[in-house]
Amino acid sequence: MSFLQVLWFILIGVLFAGFFFLDGFDFGVGMATRSLAHNEEERTQIIETIGPVWDGNEVWLITAGGAMFASFPYWYATLFSGYYLILLMILFGLIIRGVSFEFRVASAPEKQPLWSWALALGSLIVPFFLGVMFVSMIQGMPIDAKGNMSAGFFDYFNLMSIVGGVAVVLLSYLHGLNYIALKTLGDIRERARNYAEFLYWILYVGLVVFAILLFFKTDFFQVRPIGTLVTVVLIVLFSVLGHVATFKGNEMVAFISSGLTFVSLVAMIFVGMFPRVMISSISDKFDLLINSASSTSYTLTVMTIATVCLLPFVLAYTIWAYWIFRKRIALPAVQTSEVVK
């Protein structure tokens, strides 16, 4: 394994972590349009908290996919062809979510609920199937000597992968609630906090189940005992921190904590996988390794130079955009007295 190969393995982890941190709350807000908001005014209010930024957030996923193709083509080929129908569902979710924003605004008022449903449904489908995909992946999948994966229904959908899918949905939802609490004024802000306070208790149950399954269903604790333990502890720690901050009303801390819970989750997956990128359940000889799945060092060098030159600008204008949209959003009809409070 060369330095560049390891660097790109980490960078892909970073891109996925960035995606879950950023688009994670978009999914949460999307789901909240049909579960937290009580009327179309409130829906407009919370959709506007993500309106200007969700598209840029989704690009983290596109970049992660493109970077995986570029730096680990064998990983990309095995993963994407092996998870064909799962990815079809993810694409379906991304499509209906992606068009819902513009279509809702441009539609006649009586058709707008249709598009907020599309937004909510798409925002539910995507994190669920991403969770199923990654959590089944870490258990090992039937991959043959040529790197082709031919899996059956229960390879994709088993107890652990479904727990994983639900956990990612729940975490997205909590992250979205924390974001709403941070970015709004009025009734919905309180409601988001109340929902979050309660839902964290369910998340704890999920995390305990997940940790137990992680021990029995994956080899993470045998292969990387320390790294796995540390990242699992971090997941729990950030969850608790987010919960406490929610109780105290420290909305920024709560939001960043739920984001870091996601980051820790991605870190756990990448630490446990290392130095593999895909685990074969047929034989460990068929595992795809960082060393053998990657592009040439020439391509990796080109990519590294490009990334080093471009990423600072991307981060700079992304942060700048968030800064421009830093203000809280209230209902159009909100009373001035409430604003002052």
Binding site: I62, A67, F69, M252
Partner: protein, 476 residues
């Protein structure tokens, strides 16, 4: 059904649908950027209203373009995994750069642009739309870099059973790329102009229009016609150069677009229309124009064009009669190419003709276009032609590469995902087909709804109020 056919059908369907909206959004982004520039320069409120109005149409096309683009990135791995393994070292880098350099720019700045009207300085707001526009224009460059390699591989070596990149800049200096990029971008900008003029014509055909609205329509119409004339001329110019390049680099594709089976004599006749009999290797019901093919190909009255039969023989000697145990025939689908070329070139000529007539009829001295309802109808219906011309153009490029995915290196048969079943492919084909049908219907409905309002009453997004800064309060 076999998986290769299903995967090819799906690729064709998803790329064609995606490419309805890509040039649509590239073209309209440019229109909006020009309109807003005019607003900032002239301080005339009319241009602001127009920028907002066409901005709404741009946003709709952009949304559909983005979501259908997601499919493209995923399906190389999903449907063409062996292709991805073979080509990843080369193909992935432009794709990742496209995301890093273009997608981040366009998606971030489009958000800034939509939500900051009247909230930031005018110059800053103008900067946002130009950044979005630059993002859309550069994204095409990267994906075409990848496509150009597939048409004409450069800067690579075959090692370890795959194509490995040895010179990144050779990829960018690929002559194929610059012909393709020029042709695609000018065609997209033409589409922007045609859509602007055509949809305005639809609006002008309505009976009750206020004087103010009429003034705005005239501005849109003029801009649309100028863009359509200028950029369609450039599209045709680059297209001509591209065809001449094709004769050298992909003679088989060229011979197929002109349905030339037997190598011609020194004064090659041009078949205007005809139907190729692909079994007997001859063209029937043809109308030929003497010497014209030599003129089109070489710009002079002499010059033979090598026919497909001879090229097929040459390629069999070069690449073998079988690849991976599959019998090879290197002749692409002739009728598809032949007729696609005629559809593309025909509509291209139509667009430039209509635009010039339109410009003539809107000249300052005698502005008679707006009284001629038949001409407004012609312009309105012309709105649909760039969609067909673009699709036909891609048919030539992609079908013309048959039987290769990467020209001379890797075949379609070799590229497929061996582990994806026909059932899965059938399911995904049905899902995409259904989703696209719904998207198309909704899209047409929403554009029609937009056009019902005229630009004077452009819908202001009723955004919620923004107050307080989360950094101000006791958030920490």
């Amino acid at each position: 059904m076999d998986i290769v056919t299903l995967a090819r059908f799906q690729f064709a369907m998803t790329t064609v649908f995606h490419f309805f909206f890509v040039p649509f959004s590239i073209g309209t982004a440019f229109v909006v950027a020009i309109l807003e520039t005019l607003y900032v320069r002239t301080k005339n409120d009319a241009y602001k209203k127009l920028a907002k109005f066409w901005g709404n149409i741009f946003l709709l096309s952009f949304a559909v373009g983005v979501v259908t683009g997601l499919i493209q990135e995923f399906q190389f791995g999903m449907n063409w995994s062996d292709y991805s393994r073979f080509m990843g070292d080369i193909f992935g880098a432009p794709l990742a750069l496209e995301a890093l350099l273009s997608f981040f720019i366009e998606s971030t700045f489009i958000g800034l642009w939509v939500f900051t009207w009247d909230r930031v300085k005018k110059g800053m707001h103008l900067f946002f739309i130009w950044m979005t526009c630059i993002g859309t224009l550069t994204s095409a460059l990267w994906i075409l870099t990848a496509n150009s390699f597939m048409q004409h591989p450069v800067g690579y070596a075959i090692r370890n059973g795959r194509a490995e990149m040895v010179d990144f800049f050779a990829l960018l200096q690929n002559p194929q790329l610059w012909f393709e990029y020029g042709h695609v971008i000018f065609a997209a900008l033409t589409m922007g102009g045609v859509i602007l003029a055509g949809l305005t014509a639809f609006q002008m055909l309505k009976k009750d229009t206020s004087a103010e609205a009429k003034g705005l329509y005239k501005k849109s119409m003029r801009l649309g016609l100028v863009m359509a004339t200028l950029f369609s001329a450039l599209t045709i110019l680059v297209g001509d150069l591209q065809m001449k390049y094709l004769i050298e680099e992909q003679p088989m594709k060229f011979a197929a677009t002109e349905a030339v089976y037997k190598t011609t004599g020194d004064q090659a006749p041009w078949t205007l229309v005809g139907i190729a009999d692909t079994k007997k290797h001859e063209v029937k019901y043809n109308i030929d124009i003497p010497v014209m093919l030599s003129v089109l190909s070489y710009g002079k009255t002499t010059g033979a064009v090598t026919g497909m039969d001879e090229l097929n023989q040459q390629m069999k000697e070069k690449y073998g009669t079988t690849i991976n145990g599959v019998e090879m025939d290197y002749i692409p689908p002739v009728n598809t190419l032949f007729w696609s070329f005629r559809v593309m070139a025909g509509f291209g000529a139509w667009i430039i003709l209509v635009s010039i007539i339109g410009l003539w009829l809107t000249r300052k001295k005698k502005e008679t276009l707006y009284q001629k309802r038949w001409m407004l109808w012609v312009l309105a219906l012309t709105t649909f032609t760039p969609f067909l011309a673009n699709t036909a153009g891609w048919f030539i490029t992609e079908f013309g590469r048959y039987p290769w995915t990467v020209y001379g290196l890797f075949t379609i048969q070799q590229s497929i995902s061996p582990n994806v079943s026909a059932t899965s492919l059938l399911v995904s084909n049905i899902v995409y087909f259904t989703v696209f049908t719904v998207l198309a219907i909704v899209m047409i409905g929403l554009v029609k709804r937009q056009l019902k309002n005229d630009p004077t009453q452009v819908q202001e997004h009723d955004y919620a109020q923004k107050i307080l800064d989360p950094f101000d309060k006791g958030a920490f």
